[in-house]
Amino acid sequence: MKKAFVAALLILTAMPLLIGVAALPPHGDPDTPVHTHISARYLEEGREEAGADNIVTGVLLNYRGLDTAGEVTVIFTALMAGLAVLISHKKQPEGDAAYDAAEAAAEDAPVRAPVSPVVSFVVRLLAPFIALFAVYVIVNGHVTPGGGFQGGAILGALFIALTIVLGRERTRTLMPRLAQPWMQGAALLTFVGVGIVGGALTGYFLGFPADASLHLARKLMMLVLEAGIGLGGAAVFATLFLQMEAE
């Protein structure tokens, strides 16, 4: 019954995707909009129109903002799936079996070595610089290569390094229990928030005001999006690491 349900769900999900792929024009078709005018327009007017000096960021957040919102949803869903697997895996058998299992686990568990003083010193020495670099990559994403995804990865890696060196008790204060769900969903929530603001300004969800006088507003919206993606990405890394480390 359960298997049949899963199969039906998979088929129902796969069908629209396959139909969608089948409806795409052949790869490299010169008559598609990408080859006739869209790329040229992005390159020529992207800087002014999208509000980002870095064309990639302009396309990612402005022209193709909805796609990126979907991408962020995928990352968030992956986090949920990862947590679900990790948590269900941890479920212990009950009764005598549980006792045996716990005992076996205690015997198998590797003895945790104290953190090397060298590693501890270097991580603590570099931590502020790494944090600064992460913020720079996030904030400067609309000028140079970089942005929320990359900066978030750096921030998440920093969190993991600090947790290894300082212990989870100290780094836990960086992610308070109450704020955790908001941080994990930060990227998605930011897209919804900015999307609604854009909707109020232009009438389209995630629309960016096109008027030249609103150049600063466009920049600000991008900055907020980048910050949200960065924070959300870092929180996803941190959560998965904490969950795996707790095993």
């Binding site: 590797p110 070595a113 090397s116 060298v118 590693v119 270097v122 991580v123 020495l125 570099l126 610089f129």
Partner: protein, 109 residues
């Protein structure tokens, strides 16, 4: 007549060659050496001396510039982080009981 540019180019070439050589030696060591500790020892040479000299070569070639400052900062980061990682790897291997390689008696290789 040797100009300042010639000297700069010569220094760049020497530093880059040293960097490339260390990358080559480190990579050969990574493939050929017998155990985890020796391979770690070889691999960390790539990042410290190899990448360090290549970055210094770029800094010399670039002249006094903001980018040069960034390159030097990068070299400093590599010099700091790579030995730490090597140390952490070797320490973890030792603590979890990875035995070092020993030449067996009666065999030369």
């Amino acid at each position: 007549m040797i100009s300042a540019v010639d000297i700069r180019n010569a220094v760049t070439v020497v530093l880059a060659a040293v960097g490339a050589l260390f990358f080559l030696i480190g990579t050969i060591g990574l493939v050929r050496l017998p155990d985890f500790y020796a391979r770690t020892h070889a691999a960390t040479k790539c990042d410290t001396v190899g990448a360090g000299s290549l970055l210094l070569a770029l800094a010399v070639f670039n002249g006094v510039d903001v980018s040069t400052l960034k390159i030097i900062a990068l070299a400093g980061l590599v010099l700091l982080s790579s030995p730490t990682i090597g140390h952490a790897l070797a320490r973890a291997a030792h603590r979890t009981g990875v035995a070092p390689w020993q030449a067996r008696k009666g065999r030369t290789s």
